[in-house]
């Protein structure tokens, strides 16, 4: 009798569970796919509730991608253009003969979405905003180079910026990140007037942003009606969302995931081309032993098998580096020989320096795709030349969290986003290089500047303290209906078209 009871009960429970499962499985697997035909759904890593419409305070790629779709850039870095920049709401930038004053001419007829004309007051405010609104350090490049208190707007279409010291690359400084916002903007909301190709319809931090085409945009009108930007922090969740058609485009795909997506039907994987690749570097602290000896630094650089890193870590989606920054930018010194893989010479150098069999610890963390994996291969390469090398792997988000500690470590991983070498050079390690960079930024003729820059890079190549085995592009993947993504440092979606 007892057994019948138990069996009945079991049957009832099983049926109940099946019903529950069936109830749950109703509905559309593609989730939000009911959105309009000309809406692009794009997913980025984003952040949690710390995502913000204030691009001056938003550190994630998504914050900047969104801001650039909403607020038109003054101008953008464009290594192929004659001035090194392409112009936006600013039409031209001219430097005075003595390189002390820059004059910006504002494009006529650009309007914000509230109908007001964009004038020099807005441009001047946009340039000062990082200081006034406490922007993150990456936005401070302008105030480090120009005297913003003395800057002025003498008429509605002119802005005059005095440089703190003579510089020839003021255009690159101005154009690295600045976006046009209305004068006196103090907070960024969905109703802040926009000058860019899109306006914000709704925004939920950490989840989604819906952008709508701005029909009064001064530039080329976007083909898309709407863009839905999604935050999906987990890399494999992003890939799953694309595979299932929940989104049309994803950014920041890991190299291994890219490899598996390449063979998927209806999807395409792309990566940014040079110069838009991050400078992945492993820095040796020259104030700490054994790295105070240039022979040890050279030995470590010769020990690394760069091609193996490109193949095994990035499956071919990376560019071999030559231990100097800014590969692909116009002033990159291409005359330097590519450093090869020479373990024998490396061993010999270590012996000469009396550093054979020395112990080192490399600190790395997953701050960009392949950073830890590359470090692992470097450790193997170092062991192969007799160094007792170990890897200290930090959890995500910790590598740069305590910056003074980071600076003090003897051997550590780091990266720099794609940018010109001269304006982003951090002085303090080699005084002779610093002096050359100063000349490269301020000499009167272009030839003098280029010669000094190449000389500085040569010194860094010879005795520098960074192993830069690869330059890492941003890998994106999309449905093959998506065309027209501009793969810059971050993808620009303003000219995307969607096929049915």
């Amino acid at each position: 009798m007892k057994s019948t009871t138990a069996r009945n009960l079991a049957a009832a429970v099983t049926v109940g569970a099946l019903l529950a499962a069936a109830g749950c499985s109703e509905g559309d697997p593609a989730g939000s796919s009911k959105s309009a035909e000309r809406t692009l759904r794009a997913a980025f890593a984003g952040g949690g509730s710390s995502e913000t419409l204030n691009y001056l305070a938003g550190p994630t790629a998504l914050d900047f991608v969104r801001a650039k779709l909403v607020h038109a850039p003054l101008c953008e870095l464009d290594p192929k253009a004659p001035d090194g920049v392409s112009y936006g709401v600013v039409e031209t930038i001219t430097a005075s003969e003595d390189l002390k004053t820059y004059t910006l001419r504002v494009r006529d007829g650009v309007k914000f979405t509230d109908g007001k004309l964009l004038t020099s007051a807005d441009v001047l405010y946009s340039l000062r905003a990082p200081m006034l609104l406490k922007g993150l350090p990456f936005t401070m490049l302008i105030s480090r180079n120009f005297d913003m208190d003395a800057a002025s707007a003498p008429d509605a279409s002119t802005v005059i910026l005095p440089a703190k010291s003579p510089i020839a690359d003021g255009r690159e400084v101005i154009c690295q990140t600045t976006l046009a916002i209305p004068d006196k903007t103090t907070e960024f909301t969905t109703s802040t007037p926009s000058s860019g190709p899109f306006t914000i319809e709704s925004f939920e931090p950490g989840q989604s942003t819906l952008l709508k085409r701005n029909d009064s945009y001064y530039g080329q009108a976007p083909a898309l009606e709407k863009i839905e930007l999604r935050s999906i922090p987990d890399g494999s969740a992003r890939v799953n969302a694309l595979r299932q058609g929940q989104v049309d485009f994803i950014s920041a795909v890991g190299p291994a995931e890219a490899k598996t997506l390449e063979t998927a039907d209806g999807l395409k994987v792309t990566n940014s081309e040079l110069p838009y690749a991050s400078y992945l570097q492993y820095t040796m602290n020259i104030k700490a032993k054994p790295f105070d000896d240039p022979r040890v630094r050279e030995a470590f650089r010769l020990a690394v098998d760069r091609k193996r890193i490109v193949q095994n870590v990035y499956y071919g989606r990376a560019f071999v580096g030559n231990d100097i920054p800014a590969l692909g930018f116009p002033s990159y010194n291409t005359a330097l020989a590519q450093r090869g893989h020479d373990p024998e010479r490396a061993k010999q150098l270590l012996t000469e320096a009396g550093a054979a069999g020395i112990k080192v610890e490399l600190t790395a963390g997953p701050e960009m795709p392949g950073m830890v994996e590359t470090a692992t291969l470097i450790i193997e390469d170092l062991k192969a030349i007799g160094v007792q090398a170990t890897l200290r792997e930090l959890p995500a988000g910790q590598l740069f969290a305590d910056y003074p500690a980071y600076l003090s470590w003897p051997f550590k991983a780091g990266y720099t986003p794609p940018a010109y070498f001269e304006i982003n050079h951090a002085p303090g390690t080699f005084p002779d290089v610093d002096a050359l960079v100063l000349t490269a930024r301020s000499a009167v003729t272009g030839q003098e500047r280029l010669t000094a820059s190449h000389q500085a890079q040569k010194l860094l190549w010879e005795k520098g303290n960074q192993i830069a085995p690869v330059f890492v592009p941003t890998i994106n993947a999309a449905s093959d209906r998506v065309d027209g993504v501009r793969e810059l440092q971050f993808p620009d979606l303003s000219r995307v078209t969607l096929r049915n």
Partner: protein, 319 residues
């Protein structure tokens, strides 16, 4: 009125626990290497810029002073503002909690239904085929990590038999609970991870009760079928309820992995982001909410057990 006194004691103890927890969490976040200055400044900031950010975030003041100020405000119901965005922490928690609840509540219901149903079925026939099969399954589930279960579900329901969405993308302006298809996979993943332990607790308790003289007496008196099952389960429930409430409280912690994998922007997910960004007020607010929720569930479990067991001679263990 002994119950009321007991309840007051428990609530007071819970409040004291929360205060202690807030101090521990604050201290732990302080002890982690780095702070919000480092995470928001980026690698290329100058020392002066770092110092300016530190002052503007108020992080130049001593930790003790900041903690006292925070707890003073928290007592008045103000959890402060996020260091990074200035958003109200209470508001963020409200958003995240409702999203988490959309996944946690269905998971809890499934756990209770499965644990009670299968636990009773197995406990009434200890050693039977049904019991052995269930034991094998539940031990397998208990032994599998949430990550493994979630990945297996993804493979089955999004790749082999693609009927469910892989990622919980809620359309703008809507709430997660309005979309059962988005809730299904994360809720099932949590339920599978949690129900094994709960079911085994109830099974053991049912088996024990069925073995007592009192149950045998009932059987000898001809009590059969649903009445018998109900009688045994009702008597077995109080001791299993403690276990069940611990399992349910544990869901809150387990949800971090599941929320990350399915991109559910819930409270656990937000907490892991806040820790990575060293956003102390947000970490404090979120962990206190999780702590309060856990203590509430445990208290509710004890209270239910006390109600069910009220015929017992002794009051429930006074905390």
């Amino acid at each position: 009125m002994r119950l009321a006194g007991w309840l007051t004691m428990r609530v007071a103890a819970a409040a004291a626990t929360l205060i202690a927890l807030s101090a521990v969490v604050f201290w732990a976040t302080e002890e982690l290497p780095g702070d919000a200055v480092g995470t928001s400044a980026g690698p290329n900031a100058t020392d002066a810029e770092r110092a300016a950010i530190r002052v503007s975030l108020g992080l130049d003041r001593p930790a003790g002073e900041r903690y006292l100020e925070w707890i003073g405000q928290a007592m008045r119901g103000d959890l402060g503002e996020s260091l990074l965005t200035g958003r109200d922490v209470g508001e963020i928690i409200g958003d995240r909690l409702s999203t988490s609840a959309a996944v946690l509540l269905p998971a809890a219901v499934v756990i209770v239904v499965l644990a009670v149903g299968l636990g009773a079925a197995a406990g009434l026939r200890v050693g039977g085929r049904w019991d052995r099969a269930l034991s094998a399954i539940t031990l397998g589930l208990v032994g599998s990590s949430d990550f493994l279960l979630a990945t297996a579900l993804l493979v089955v329901f999004t790749a082999w038999w693609p009927v469910l969405p892989a990622v919980a993308l809620v359309p703008a302006g809507e709430e997660l609970w309005e979309h059962p298809d988005l809730v299904a996979l994360p809720a099932i993943a949590l339920a599978l991870g949690g129900f094994g332990a709960a079911m085994r607790l109830l099974r053991a308790s049912v088996a024990q009760t069925a073995d007592t003289g009192f149950a045998e007496f009932a059987r000898l008196n001809g009590i059969r079928g649903v009445r018998y099952v109900w009688m045994v389960v009702a008597n077995a429930a109080p001791s299993a309820l403690h276990g069940l409430s611990i399992v349910l409280a544990g869901l809150l912690g387990g949800s971090i992995v599941v929320e990350t994998l399915f991109n559910v922007p819930g409270i656990g997910f937000e907490l892991s982001q806040a820790v990575a960004e060293r956003d102390v007020p947000l970490v404090q607010g979120l962990s206190l909410t999780l702590g309060a929720a856990t203590l509430t569930i445990l208290l509710a479990g004890d209270l239910c057990a006390a109600m069910l067991g009220r015929h017992q001679a002794h009051p429930p263990g006074v905390a």
